[in-house]
């Protein structure tokens, strides 16, 4: 077994860390018995790792505990505030979603207008429309999507109309993504703002929705979070807020979000 030096070092380190499986450990131990150079290498690597733990434990002694406790208290207070707000918002979203279902989903026109005084801060607004969409999408499953059959020409007409409203080119090519089938495109409203919602069925997972809202404001980058059993990410770009949400693993949502973001990068 001819191993490169790097591989031998890695094997020796894994051996020292107790991470080799029994077969590889026994093989290495046999070689160590006969090979003085290998043994010396093992000892040198062992010595190099010895002071690490203690060195880093010294960091715990200098951690600014008082400030960290204050940071925790601040986080608790903020979380409390967000929770109260989200609860009220979820009730509104649930009511609106039920209404949507009762009216038949195909050409649904959804209005979930929340009192303006709730939006004390921009991030609360973000929080609220995300919560509203999450509440709505959580009522769908693969079967409810299968029941939606919109003729292709109608879908394209809806996309064109929505594109005009949010001021973006929403051609079918641009909003077609591998592994997803566009089922419906519709106009929703939140707090007086138009939202284009594109609802997709995914090959391997549950429903996925892409929402685009025209709203001025800064640029932000998304990261994946979970809500109501769905994974989602939202970001702002060139005066539009994007929300991608779906019943799919976080890494799928993340990679899909990259594709969506790059689809809207140009033009």
């Amino acid at each position: 077994m001819a191993l490169e030096r790097d591989d031998i070092d890695a094997l020796l380190v894994a051996y020292l860390d107790g991470e080799l499986d029994p077969a590889r450990r026994q093989e290495l131990e046999r070689r160590l018995r006969d090979d003085a150079a290998l043994k010396a290498r093992r000892d040198a690597l062992a010595e190099a790792g010895r002071p690490l733990r203690g060195a880093f434990d010294a960091l715990l002694d200098v951690a600014p505990r008082g400030r960290l406790e204050t940071a925790f208290a601040t986080a608790s207070a903020t979380a409390q505030k967000h929770r109260r707000f989200r609860y009220r918002q979820m009730l509104a979203a649930l009511a609106a979603s039920l209404l949507l279902l009762l009216c038949g989903g195909v050409a649904g026109y959804w209005v979930a207008k929340a009192p303006g005084d709730l939006f004390e801060e921009a991030d609360e607004m973000e929080e609220a429309w995300v919560a509203a969409v999450a509440g709505q999408l959580s009522l769908y499953n693969a079967a409810s999507l299968a029941a939606i059959q919109v003729p292709s020409t109608e879908l394209e007409a809806q996309l064109a109309k929505l594109g005009d409203i949010v001021g973006l080119d929403l051609s079918k090519e641009r909003v077609t993504f591998e592994g997803l089938t566009l089922k419906r495109a519709e106009l929703l409203h939140f707090d007086g703002r138009a939202i284009a919602e594109l609802l997709y069925a995914s090959e391997d997972h549950g429903p996925v929705a892409l929402c685009i809202m025209a709203a001025p404001g800064g640029e932000s980058e998304g990261e994946v979070e979970s809500r109501d059993g769905l994974n989602l990410t939202y970001w702002a770009k060139s005066g539009r807020r994007f929300l991608l949400i779906g019943d799919a693993p976080a890494n799928k949502i993340e990679s899909l979000a990259d594709r969506v973001a790059s689809a809207f990068e140009t033009r």
Partner: protein, 175 residues
């Protein structure tokens, strides 16, 4: 509206604050950014307490949150704002927490370890300091176990002043 998971987090997170800060410091090499990371981690953990599975390890869960905030948000933001990612030497001269920094980097081993590339630094902390198994570390870092092995070998070679081949500076997998 409390939940069992939330109660566990509220009760147990405060004791983990120094370890979270240390992880934030190893990632960012900036004591102030590490504090911000701890606060953001606490907030996210409380807001998503329902995702924490009671009976599993809270520290592991919090570490993944902190890591995700760093790589998905704060780190990118620093680069975007032109701050870049701090080099070890910058840590010594950056203002605001000079006292802490002096203490932090007092130890030579620590100074050398903090000067390692980000991926090696983080792997070293998780495995040698926080006691993650290779498998657990590979999972959190989202790399093959072979990469964890080669990173730790590179760490020991550098800190031990042993012969380092050119390939050691890059991640490679070992089977």
């Amino acid at each position: 509206m409390t939940s069992p998971s939330r109660d566990v987090i509220v009760a147990e997170l405060p004791a983990l604050l120094p370890r979270l800060w240390r992880y934030g410091l190893v990632l960012s090499r900036d004591p102030v950014a590490a504090e911000d990371l701890v606060q953001a981690t606490a907030l996210r953990a409380l807001e998503r307490s329902s995702q924490f599975v009671a009976g599993t390890r809270l520290d592991r869960w919090l570490f993944s949150i902190l890591r995700s905030i760093w790589f998905n948000h704060l780190r990118a933001q620093r680069v975007r704002l032109g701050h870049g990612v701090l080099e070890a030497e910058d840590v010594l001269v950056s203002d605001g927490a000079a006292q802490i920094e002096t203490n932090i980097l007092a130890g030579q081993v620590l100074r050398q370890a903090m000067a390692l590339p980000e991926a090696q630094r983080e792997t070293l902390l998780l495995v040698y300091v926080e006691g993650f198994t290779y498998r657990e570390a590979a999972h959190v870092l989202d790399v093959p176990i072979g990469t964890v092995m080669s990173r730790l070998a590179a760490v020991r070679l550098k800190l031990g002043g042993l012969e380092v081949s050119a390939t050691k500076t890059e991640d490679r997998d070992v089977e």
